[in-house]
């Protein structure tokens, strides 16, 4: 009513003195949704009928997956400009797309390419950015993800996280002939690289803060041990092989320590290990199971899962030790935390009425929001820009990779991986 009065008053003013003052209109509401964007297939000049990678499709897929963009289907493209001079803004305006991406791939030598792209603002009729990148064939996908990042940052103001990687475990085979594999793939699930294969279980991969190394739990020696492996070179070192459980490694933000779960004192507790000298500091002390530690971005405290209250719930404890404080109260099962890069949100597996879903707890409001609707979703991990969460979801008795935008609006399964996928973890920005 107030608003209506306001409008009426403004209208009265405007009518009273036409020409003197512009009609004033307040816009108080907007739409929340994806930015419409068209990514035109890139032009190709080189041998063969087509470029070795469909760069536009990769970009399109990246942008859609983020939940922040709605890409125009190829069949709706009114024209296929590859050059700024061919861009006719009104055509794209009619399709109501805010932005337009065009580009070209040129073969510059054997296995050598040049990829250039330009991003246009259709309604303001401006070119926003344009870059050219040299690339070997194996780097084309990465270049595409990098372009996605540039577009994403230009249009959302947030850093893009497409040119990052995910590590995860798969199991193939069955019965006694099972194979466990640790893989690292692009953020869209493509280009998987095997880091380690074992006939014994592999668990709990964790990225170093610089993104060059992965810590994981392996049962290669029939008992749980924690290794740290350099992703590019494959070299690795054993960091924990204590009696009992050696599990759930988590790198400190400064990269000097790992938090881990050990049961060497009889009961699973959270410890901190200084990597330089492998010295240990016990952080929790309860008769219950304390596990799955993660560091807050400032490195001052850790969040972990404990069933000390009767059911698995999240607790927070200072990195210097002391009393743990319970964080979650909704539902009978909240476990497997990951903290957003800005420290404001905690993702977890939220179990209620027999369904396990990914939920996000807002640390400021204390509200819990369920983002997924699977039956057995697990292992949430924030993208390094905090906009998305990758997780594993059950698809007919096997796990597959899936990603959900932090607002829960966009959810998508990633490219189908072989085997049963578990425990995906998103790399930090560092690895590029």
């Amino acid at each position: 009513m107030k608003l209506i009065n306001g409008i009426l008053l403004l209208v009265l003013l405007a009518v009273a003195r036409p020409g003197m003052t512009a009609l004033t209109i307040e816009i108080t509401k907007g739409m929340e949704g994806a930015i419409p964007i068209a990514v035109v297939p890139f032009g190709w000049s080189g041998k063969g009928a087509a470029a070795p990678e469909n760069i536009a499709a990769i970009i399109s897929s990246d942008l859609s997956r983020s939940g922040r963009f709605e890409t125009l289907p190829d069949r709706d493209l009114v024209s296929h400009p590859t050059d700024a001079s061919q861009v006719q803004y009104h055509n794209w305006r009619m399709l109501n797309v805010d932005n337009l991406v065009i580009g070209q791939i040129r073969e510059t030598g054997p296995q050598q390419y040049s990829v250039e792209f330009q991003l246009f603002d259709v309604f303001r009729t401006k070119r926003l950015i344009g870059y050219s990148f040299p690339a070997r064939q194996s780097e084309l996908r990465r270049v595409a993800h990098h372009i996605s990042d540039l577009i994403y940052e230009q249009l959302t103001g947030e850093k893009g996280a497409f040119n990052t990687q995910i590590a995860y475990i798969t199991t193939t085979g069955n019965g006694t002939k099972k194979t466990y594999t640790l893989l690292v793939a692009d953020s869209d699930g493509f280009n998987p690289q095997t880091i380690l294969t074992s006939s014994q279980p592999l668990m709990s991969p964790a990225w170093s803060s610089d993104g060059n190394e992965v810590a994981y739990v392996t049962f290669e020696q029939k008992t749980a041990e924690i290794y740290i492996q350099h992703v590019a070179t494959g070299s690795r070192r054993k960091v924990a092989s204590f009696p009992g459980i050696n599990g759930a490694p988590a790198w400190s933000p400064d990269g000097t320590r790992i938090a881990l779960t050990l049961s060497r004192d009889g009961n699973p507790e959270i410890y901190l290990m200084t990597l330089a000298n492998k010295s240990l500091k016990r952080l929790t002390n309860s008769p219950a199971i304390d596990t799955e530690p993660v560091w807050t971005p400032d490195g001052r405290s850790l969040v972990f899962t404990s069933d000390r209250g009767g059911s698995p719930q999240l607790y927070e404890v200072s990195a210097g030790g002391g009393q743990a404080k319970r964080l979650t109260f909704d539902g009978s099962y909240n476990a497997g935390a990951d903290i957003s890069p800005d420290g404001r949100k905690i993702a977890m597996v939220h179990g209620e009425k027999g369904a396990y879903r990914i939920a996000v707890h807002d640390r400021e409001t204390g509200l819990l929001r369920v983002l997924t609707d699977g039956k057995l979703d697990e292992s949430p991990s924030f993208s390094p820009n905090g906009s998305m969460i990758i997780y594993a979801t059950d698809a007919g008795n096997r796990g597959v990779l899936a990603a959900v935008s932090v607002d829960g609006r966009f959810r998508q399964r990633l490219s189908l991986q072989a085997g049963n996928v578990r425990e995906p973890v998103w790399s930090p920005f560092g690895r590029q």
Binding site: L8, P18, G30, R124
Partner: protein, 248 residues
């Protein structure tokens, strides 16, 4: 009859005498001339034929005497008549003069009165006409004002209606950037061309957030053409819009 004679012997005598005279006159006149209408003894000499000199002389004498007498009488009468006539003429002249003067005075007074009446009538008519004209003007003005007020009221209603349409269309086309800080506000000045197409968008007050500003500009362009009233006269209200983007 006798009684009258006895009472008036003189009168009887005179009457007898008069009769005799008349009888004589009658006898003579028979001989004179049948022209009775001709005045006796003025121009035509009377020729006596059958009368002897004496007789004639005495008659003549008598006649002369009588003539003189008559003449005198006639003169007297004439004089009297003349005087009378003169008097009468004078009186008449005087009366006429008086009458004329009176008439003139009256005419002048009448003319004056008439002129006065005319002047008054005319003045009255003029005053009346002027008053009527003024009244008409006033009424017309009032009518015009009323019409203008009614038009303004109608305009106002239409402007309010279309303000709501425009607001709605822009809001439908405004993609608020996700994750932009709260409390941002951006004001743009928008120029429309008839038909509602956006000719120009100018940020007059930036939110300080480039993404927010860009979303605002895009929203305005996307809402083009703006819904406008069909009546082209209404365009004046919509030529320039000031849009305040202020999410609540």
């Amino acid at each position: 009859m006798w009684k009258i004679i006895r009472e008036n012997p003189r009168a009887v005598l005179y009457a007898v005498l008069m009769h005799l005279v008349l009888l004589v006159l009658l006898v003579f006149s028979l001989d004179w001339t049948p022209k009775i209408s001709r005045p006796a003894g003025v121009k035509v000499p009377i020729e006596a034929k059958l009368i002897d000199q004496r007789q004639l002389e005495s008659v003549e004498e008598k006649k002369k005497e009588e003539q003189r007498k008559r003449e005198a009488e006639r003169k007297a009468v004439e004089e009297k008549k003349k005087a009378e006539a003169e008097r009468k003429r004078k009186a008449e002249a005087e009366a006429k003069r008086k009458a004329e003067a009176e008439a003139k005075r009256k005419a002048e007074a009448e003319a004056k009165r008439k002129a006065e009446v005319k002047r008054k009538t005319e003045a009255e008519a003029k005053r009346k006409a002027e008053a009527e004209a003024a009244q008409r003007r006033e009424a017309e003005l009032a009518l015009q004002q009323q019409l203008a007020a009614e038009q303004a009221e109608r305009d106002q209603g239409v402007v309010a209606e279309y303000t709501a349409y425009i607001q709605d269309k822009i809001q439908q086309n405004w993609l608020k950037p996700a994750g932009s800080p709260e409390g941002l506000s951006c004001t743009v000045q928008v120029s429309l061309i008839p038909g509602g197409d956006v000719a120009r968008v100018q940020i007059v007050r930036s939110s300080g957030d480039p993404l927010f500003d860009r979303s605002v500009e895009t929203a305005v362009h996307k809402a083009s053409p703006m819904p406008l009233p069909k009546d082209a006269a209404m365009f004046k209200y919509f030529r320039e819009l000031r849009l305040i983007f202020k999410p609540r």
